[in-house]
Amino acid sequence: MSGKLNIVLAALLVGCALSVVNGRYQARHLVIESERLQQQVRQLDIDWAQLQLDQSKLGKGERIEQIAGADLNMTPLTTARTQYLMEGAP
C-alpha cells in the first residue's frame, strides 16, 4: 500500500516540476513579447514626435506664404474685397 502511494506521489512531483518548467518558459516568452511591444511604443512615440515636427516645419507661415505667392499666384486678402456675412444681420 505504502509503495503504491509513493509511486503516485513521485509521479505527481515530477508532473509539478515539469509544469513549473513550462510555466517559467511561458513567462519568459511573454516577457520577451511585452518588451518587444514596449520597444514598439517607444519607437512610435519617436515617430509621432518626428511627424509633429514635420507638420510644424511644413506649416510654417513663411513657407506657405512663399508657395501661395510664388507658385500659386495668390494675393493677400483685403477687407475691401471681402463680403462679410454677419450673424443676425438683415
Binding site: 515636427l53 507661415g61 506664404e65 477687407t79 462679410y84
Partner: protein, 592 residues
C-alpha cells in the same frame, strides 16, 4: 588460546602457534592514549570549522553573496526620459526633442583604421578630415568626435565598422519655427538644459528625469525577466504657450519689413489678448535660427520687448489725461491755451513741434501737444501721478516668469523736480519696456482695470485690479481713436474696415548720457478693434535712419499692417464701413 600453547608448538608461523595477529605481543607497542584522542579531536575540529564556515556563508554574509551573484546575471537598463514639448496655443509644436547619438572614439584604436575609412567618417560627420585627426591626436583614452548626430548618419557610420568608435544615446532639441519663434521659446544646450527664454524659465518642469530598472537577459540579449524598477523615469511636462503661431508670424514679418523699410537698427512688437492677458505674439528683429547657433551675436539674442527699456515719449500722455479726467479736474472738452507753442518750467523751455492756439483735452491727445500735457499735469499733485504709474505697472518688473524681465525706472515722486515732472507728463525722464507699455494700455482697452500677463495658455479670465473708472477708460478710447484719424498724429495707423485707436511716441535716445539729436525710438501702442477690444499691439522701431523717424511715421504703419492681418487671421468681423483710408499728404507729426 593461552600463551603457554604458543611456546609449546614451536612453529615458525605465529598463527600456527595459535596466537592472533591483534594480540601479537610484537605489536603490542605501548602508544600513548592521547595520540588517538588528538586525531579524533582534529577531525572533530575540522568538521566544526566546516560547519562554522557554512554558517558564516549561509547566515552572516548571505546578503553580500547574493548581491555578488545578482551582479553576475542581472543587468541595469537606463530608462531615458524626454524633455517636454513646447507647443503654441493651438497645439503646434514649437520645440521637441528627438533621440540622436554622440560619436566618441578611443583615439589609439581608431587611428589604426585605414585612412580612406577615416576620410569617409569625416565626410559623414560633416567635418574636415583635419579636424577629425586633430581630435584623435590626443593622449586621452576617450574623445567625443561629434555630438548630436542624427540617426540616419549613425546608421551609415556603423556600416563603416571602425574599431574603437562608439556611440552614446542623447537627445537633440529641434525648433521647427526657427527664427520666427525663437525669442519666446529660447533654446537648450547640448546637454538638453534650457539656456534662454521659456526653455530657461521652465527648465524644472520641462526637464525629464531618467530612470533605470533591473532585468535578466538571456544569451541572445533578450530581456527574459523583469526584476522591477530601480528608479522610475519621469518625462518632462509639455508646455503650452499662450502664443499663436499665426499671429506670431504676422508680427515677425511686419517688424522685419519695418526694420528693412525704415533702415532701423532693430524693432520689436508684442500682441496681447485684452480679455485674458495672454501674450499672443512677441517678435524681434534682428533674430537668429535656434537650430544653428554657430554665428550668434548679442544683438540677435536680445529680446527687446522684455529686456530693453526706453523712454516711452508721448505714449504716456493718455495717463496724464486719464488721471485729470478721473479726478474730475478736466473734462474732454476743457480748453487749454497752448500758444505760443512752448512753456517754460523751472528755467527749461518745453516746446511743441507745431504751434496750436487753443486745444481741448481731446485735442491735446490727438495732436500730441507737449505744452498741453504739461499744463494738465500742473493741476495734479506728483504723488497721484506716481501712484497711477505704479498701479499701471511701471517701475516694477512684470511677474511673467520670463528670464530677464526688467522693471524700467520710475523715480520716487518726492525727488521729482518741477521740470522733471513736466517732462514725465509726456513720457520723458522715466523708462519702460515695450511689454510694460503694452500691458499698461489694458486700463484703457478694458474697463479701467489691469490684469496680469501670461506666457502660458490661460483657461479662465483673471481677476483685474481697478485703476481708473470704466467711464474714463471709454473717454480715453474715444481720444485714442481720434489720434488714428486723418487729423491725428497716427493717420498711418488706420486699418481698413476696423476701428482702431492708439498713441504714437517718439523719444530721443540717450547716448553717452545726453539726448541724441539724430537717434530716435519710434513707438506706437494701439487697441483693435475699438468696438470690442481684442488686441493690444505695441510696436517699437529702434533708431530708424531714413527720412521719417517719428512714431507716427515708422511705428504707426507697422501697427496698421500688423493689426489688419491679425484681425483677419483671428476672424474678427469688421466694425467700420470705411474701407478707403485717407492719409494726408503731410501728416501731422508729434512733438518730442
Amino acid at each position: 588460546m593461552k600463551r603457554g600453547a604458543h611456546g609449546v608448538n614451536g612453529s615458525r608461523v605465529a598463527a600456527s602457534k595459535g596466537v592472533a595477529f591483534s594480540t601479537s605481543p610484537v605489536l603490542a607497542v605501548g602508544l600513548p592514549n592521547w595520540r588517538s584522542r588528538l586525531v579524533l579531536f582534529a577531525l572533530f575540529a575540522a568538521f566544526v570549522a566546516l560547519a562554522a564556515r557554512a554558517l558564516w556563508l549561509q547566515g552572516m554574509s548571505t546578503q553580500f553573496l547574493q548581491q555578488q551573484g545578482k551582479s553576475r546575471y542581472e543587468r541595469t537598463l537606463e530608462l531615458p526620459a524626454t524633455r517636454g514639448k513646447i507647443t503654441d496655443r493651438n497645439g503646434q509644436v514649437l520645440a521637441s526633442s528627438l533621440p540622436v547619438k554622440a560619436v566618441w572614439a578611443i583615439p589609439e584604436d581608431v587611428l589604426k583604421a585605414p585612412p580612406e575609412k577615416l576620410a569617409e567618417l569625416a565626410r559623414l560627420l560633416d567635418m574636415p578630415e583635419a579636424d577629425v585627426r586633430k581630435k584623435l591626436d590626443s593622449d586621452r583614452t576617450f574623445v567625443y568626435l561629434k555630438r548630436q548626430v542624427e540617426m540616419d548618419v549613425i546608421a551609415r557610420i556603423e556600416k563603416l565598422d571602425i574599431g574603437g568608435l562608439g556611440t552614446r544615446k542623447e537627445y537633440k532639441r529641434f525648433y521647427p519655427q526657427g527664427e520666427v519663434m525663437t525669442h519666446l521659446v529660447g533654446f537648450t544646450n547640448v546637454e538638453d538644459v534650457g539656456q534662454e527664454s521659456m526653455e530657461l524659465a521652465q527648465q524644472i518642469t520641462l526637464m525629464g528625469v531618467p530612470g533605470s530598472r533591473r532585468v535578466i537577459k538571456d544569451r541572445l540579449g533578450r530581456i527574459v525577466e523583469d526584476l522591477g524598477m530601480f528608479r522610475e523615469p519621469h518625462d518632462g511636462k509639455d508646455l503650452v504657450l499662450s502664443v499663436d503661431s499665426k499671429l506670431q508670424y504676422i508680427a515677425f514679418t511686419s517688424i522685419k519689413n519695418a526694420v528693412e523699410k525704415y533702415n532701423a537698427k532693430a524693432g520689436a512688437a508684442v500682441v496681447l489678448d485684452v480679455r485674458t492677458g495672454e501674450v499672443l505674439a512677441l517678435a524681434n528683429w534682428p533674430s537668429y535660427n535656434p537650430n544653428d547657433r554657430s554665428r550668434l551675436t548679442g544683438e540677435q539674442l536680445r529680446n527687446r520687448v522684455i529686456t530693453d527699456t526706453f523712454e516711452p515719449g508721448s505714449t504716456l500722455k493718455p495717463f496724464t489725461v486719464a488721471l485729470a479726467l478721473e479726478t474730475r479736474r478736466v473734462t474732454p472738452d476743457t480748453v487749454f491755451d497752448v500758444s505760443p507753442g512752448y512753456i517754460v518750467v523751472g528755467g527749461h523751455r518745453i516746446r511743441d513741434s507745431h504751434v496750436h492756439g487753443q486745444l481741448t483735452v481731446s485735442g491735446i491727445i490727438q495732436k500730441s501737444s507737449n505744452v498741453g500735457a504739461v499744463k494738465i499735469s500742473q493741476m495734479i499733485p506728483a504723488q497721484e501721478m506716481w501712484e497711477l504709474y505704479t498701479k499701471s505697472g511701471f517701475g516694477q518688473a512684470p511677474r511673467v516668469g520670463f528670464p530677464g524681465a526688467v522693471a524700467g525706472r520710475v523715480r520716487p515722486y518726492k525727488s521729482w523736480r518741477p521740470v522733471e515732472y513736466a517732462n514725465m507728463s509726456f513720457g520723458h525722464g522715466l523708462s519702460v519696456s515695450l511689454l510694460q507699455l503694452a500691458r499698461s494700455y489694458m486700463i484703457f482697452a478694458r474697463g479701467g482695470d489691469i490684469i496680469p500677463l501670461s506666457f502660458a495658455k490661460v483657461n479662465e479670465e483673471p481677476a483685474g485690479q481697478q485703476v481708473i473708472s470704466p467711464r474714463t477708460a471709454a473717454q480715453i478710447r474715444t481720444m485714442l481713436e481720434s489720434v488714428v484719424s486723418p487729423q491725428g498724429t497716427a493717420s498711418k495707423a488706420q486699418v481698413a474696415g476696423y476701428r482702431v485707436g492708439g498713441k504714437t511716441g517718439t523719444a530721443q535716445k540717450i547716448i553717452d548720457g545726453r539726448y541724441s539729436q539724430s537717434n530716435y525710438v519710434g513707438s506706437f501702442v494701439g487697441i483693435a478693434p475699438l468696438s470690442k477690444p481684442r488686441f493690444i499691439i505695441a510696436v517699437m522701431v529702434d533708431d530708424p535712419k531714413g527720412a521719417v523717424h517719428t512714431g507716427g511715421g515708422v511705428a504707426a504703419p507697422t501697427f496698421a499692417a500688423l493689426a489688419a492681418s491679425a484681425l483677419r487671421a483671428d476672424n474678427i468681423p469688421p466694425d467700420s464701413p470705411v474701407t478707403d483710408i485717407i492719409i494726408p499728404e503731410n501728416p501731422l507729426e508729434e512733438s518730442m
